[in-house]
């Protein structure tokens, strides 16, 4: 894979993880209240906007990435997002890594490395 492909792939992983975490932070805010007030609260804080911006940028980075690699390989390489988001969830929100989750993350990581190595 060329440097540009690597850079775009890294960007999609970082933007996707950043976007998910920002949405989680926006949605998990305990001060947010309910109903319309909750949406107003979220809109007045940066997290929702940061999440949205990450997604728009990721959308573009993903299209650019896919236009440079075969689709099947691209989608397989994109699976690493699942692992990145789980690790980030563990790190920032203390979410549990159960044995099933660890096994799943290990297999996905291994699979992505194999697909990448064969590219």
């Amino acid at each position: 894979m060329s440097a540009l492909v690597w850079a775009l792939w890294t960007a999609t992983v970082l933007l996707d993880t950043g976007g998910q975490l920002a949405f989680k932070a926006a949605a998990g805010d305990p001060d947010a209240g309910d109903g319309l007030a909750r949406w107003k609260h979220m809109l007045s804080r940066p997290w929702l906007w940061i999440g949205g911006a990450c997604y728009v940028l990721e959308f573009l980075a993903w299209i650019a990435f896919l236009s440079l690699v075969p689709l099947g390989r691209g989608v397989l390489l994109g699976s690493i997002n699942i692992v990145a988001i789980m690790l980030a969830g563990r790190w920032l929100f203390g979410e549990k890594l159960t044995p099933w989750r660890l096994a799943g993350m290990g297999l996905i990581g291994l699979g992505v490395a194999m697909v990448g190595a064969g590219a």
Binding site: G72, V75, S79, I85, M86, A88, G104, L107, M114
Partner: protein, 152 residues
């Protein structure tokens, strides 16, 4: 109820697959990618881009309806198993070929997704809980169950 799941999961996979195929077509149509307004305008002129958006919106609403009843484990797996359909269609539509190492990697990824699905609570109650969170406007999945986000 069984039919509801089958149709729901098939629809979800269909929308996700449509989105990925459309992304590929849109990207190829706007080739080469560059950090410029020109590229963005070329991209916006691609009809496939709107196919991708349709796939997203469809997948979102299907996911929401499924979560009302489906256990989160199978739903999680189904929301990521579009890699299988996308691989098959890439080979068929775009003539993509895979080395044996890559096929083994694909099998490992699918096995990993199945493991993650097995690790999620399997009772319908947790599905309803998720749906209740959705109804309350909360982010539907915790980070561990995230749907891979915008591009996936």
């Amino acid at each position: 109820m069984k039919r509801f799941y089958l149709i729901g999961f098939a629809l979800l996979m269909g929308f996700d697959t449509l989105a990925q195929l459309s992304f590929k077509h849109a990207g190829s149509g706007a080739f080469p990618p560059e950090a410029s307004l020109d590229w963005l305008l070329r991209l916006l002129a691609q009809p496939w881009l709107y196919g991708a958006l349709l796939g997203y919106i469809g997948a979102f609403f299907t996911w929401m309806s499924l979560l009302k009843h489906a256990p989160i484990g199978p739903a999680f797996a189904a929301s990521h198993l579009e890699v299988v359909s996308v691989l098959a269609l890439s080979a068929w539509l775009f003539g993509e070929r895979f080395s044996s190492l890559q096929v083994a990697g694909a099998v490992a990824i699918v096995a990993g997704i199945v493991c993650l699905a097995m690790g999620e609570p399997d009772d319908a109650e947790s599905g309803s809980e998720q749906a209740a969170q959705l109804a309350a406007g909360r982010e539907p999945r915790d980070a561990g169950e995230a749907d891979g986000g915008a591009a996936h």
